[in-house]
Symmetry: none
DNA sequence: AATGAATGAGTATTCATTCAT
DNA sequence: CATGAATGAATACTCATTCAT
């Protein structure tokens, strides 16, 4: 087994090639050969760093969802009005989408896998909980400060996440027709309007 | 070539078997053999009614989304307050989900395919438009009747759809943790609160 | 899975092709493709009748050793002097060798496998016991009739088997140098000389 | 190219590792990696001392059978009754077996190879001749001294070798069931009984 | 001399599709 | 119309061998 430094570099190299190829052809239709070519390595080298194609998919599953999480907490904990911070989160989500847009079909296949494999489902479930927790706290903060009316913070957090995820789903079907950034901001404004104290 | 009546029956028979198997094992992992066994037909018979596995998938794509659409217009056009009708729609959506829940991973795989295949994407895009149109009209009606404040009806329709689709996505990841029906109603109420005239 | 009649025929067809190829190239160097070509079937057909290459090897293991056993009991139970029957058995063994000579290297590989795999070892061990039992009875009969002196029948049976097996091993190394039939008969005579009452 | 002294040491080191691994996993299933690990060398180093895996197998073939031969002549030429010397040889054979028992499956694979490769067969054939020669002389001596009756010395030598080789084969299949040393001695006694003058 | 990362030819196995019956 | 035995293209994975360091 190769040294740690090289290993890490190669794994990253392979994962990047895998994202690109999986996104283009799908999890199944992508051949190890495709990943090898894209990564600039040989087919054999892939197996020096990952035990199997499934291992690559698993690693990708973890990496991809970890990427998405970055920043959520930072913004949730930052200064300013809760409304402002929710909008900042929305914009951050938009930035992530720009960066991960190519990987979107991979996410969808992962969700399909999650539905069938309890282990994967568990994993994704936890990721969402990690979103939802800080988000609910943020809403709670808004209620405490008098910015929002007395709602169930957890309920709202779920709604917020569902809204953005759903919008992303619609964007996948019609990327040109839906200007995600603007639509998301508008939708979140609509939601915030319902939260505001009258 | 089989007669039309029998043909139609057999095609339905095959499609139902396909849904069940695709849902359980995924589009790719499902073998023609599986569909044959489930449908009670022989492997060869499958090819009498569909040219290929892809043809079955295509037919399913059309059928599945057509199923989902039933009822949307009926409710949109019915009597009562717009708010009431939106809630009725939400409940109808919940009923659909109950019926189609097993097929959920298939939808996800279809979305992934849509991202890659313009023809499929087009098809799905149109389906959503058919939701969105009547929905936007409904919102418009609500504004006209003074029930809602002056918002962009199309924007709200999109938000509503995104909300429910997103919630469905979260449900896929955590079917037991998320009571779709209750959560959806709560989320829609939140949205309606933001629409109401103050 | 194909019907029983056809299945049996195909399995035999495959096994015969496998013997021929395994003998020629060895267990490992023989490719499924080789067996397919030799049997006149396609590569895929092989898998209709056997789960894997290993399954073919296992089936062969059982078949090959079963072939070798046929007749042993019949002769052991027949009429005549014990000495005569032991010589008849030796000749039968020689006939078997003629028939199975091509498969000899396969036997050797099987023995090597047996040494490492308890299950295979067990199987072969039982086969030998099935030889040894009737043989020991035969010797016992010879002692009872006064033909042989009082020896341990089981010991002698083992010696007899070892003698013929060992001769076969030497024949494998030098098939032209060793006229198995004559050598075996001479060797058995030597052994019988030691058993005779003085 | 390594210096001669080191080279010889390394080659021995590699060969010992190879015996151990080949015996455990078989000629084919043993990977160069296994031999490298077992020998404490690197995979690359193996190729400094042997051209290929086949070269290691060839070297082993020569070494292993050479080991087995040691002592045969010495005992054959020593003092004492011929019967006593034959029994001593049997015991020496037993000692060898103890030492080489782990390598037994390798021998079997070598025999299988011998059947297919004339060069290997030739080599093994000569080894056996080197046993058989001194052994036949020994028998001849016994006849001359009046210990044995007038038999074909060569025939008896072959029988003796076959007996011990055959017993070894049976031991491979059932190492615990067959106490080689005792069984061999008994079998040889049986044979000697047939040789003795009446 | 020695290393071990990299290579890529080689192979068992699967499964959509065909077609003789 | 229906069957299911047969086909063979396609692909993940292994491992002997090489070679830059």
């Amino acid at each position: 087994m190769p040294s740690d430094d090289l290993s890490e570099e190669r794994q990253k190299q392979i994962l990047e090639a895998a994202v690109s190829q999986f996104a283009k052809h799908g999890l199944h239709a992508t051949r190890m050969e495709d990943i090898a070519r894209e990564s600039g390595l040989s087919k054999g080298a892939l197996y020096l760093y990952y035990q199997s194609k499934d291992a690559i998919i698993s690693a990708l599953l973890r990496t991809l969802f970890a990427w998405e999480l970055r920043g959520t907490r930072a913004i949730a904990r930052s200064e300013g009005s809760v409304t402002g911070r929710l909008l900042a989160l929305t914009r951050m989500f938009a930035d992530e989408l720009d960066r991960l847009s190519v990987a979107m079909p991979i996410f969808l296949e992962f969700y399909a896998i999650a539905f069938r494999q309890p282990a994967v489902r568990e994993h994704l479930g936890k990721m969402y909980d990690e979103y939802r927790g800080p988000l609910a706290s943020l809403i709670q903060e808004g209620i405490a400060s008098g910015e929002f009316r007395a709602v169930d913070p957890d309920e709202v957090a779920l709604t917020w996440i569902a809204l953005l995820e759903g919008l992303t789903l619609l964007w996948v079907v019609n990327p040109r027709g839906i200007a995600w950034r603007e639509r998301a901001e508008a939708a979140v404004h609509l939601l915030l309007d319902g939260l505001r104290v009258r």
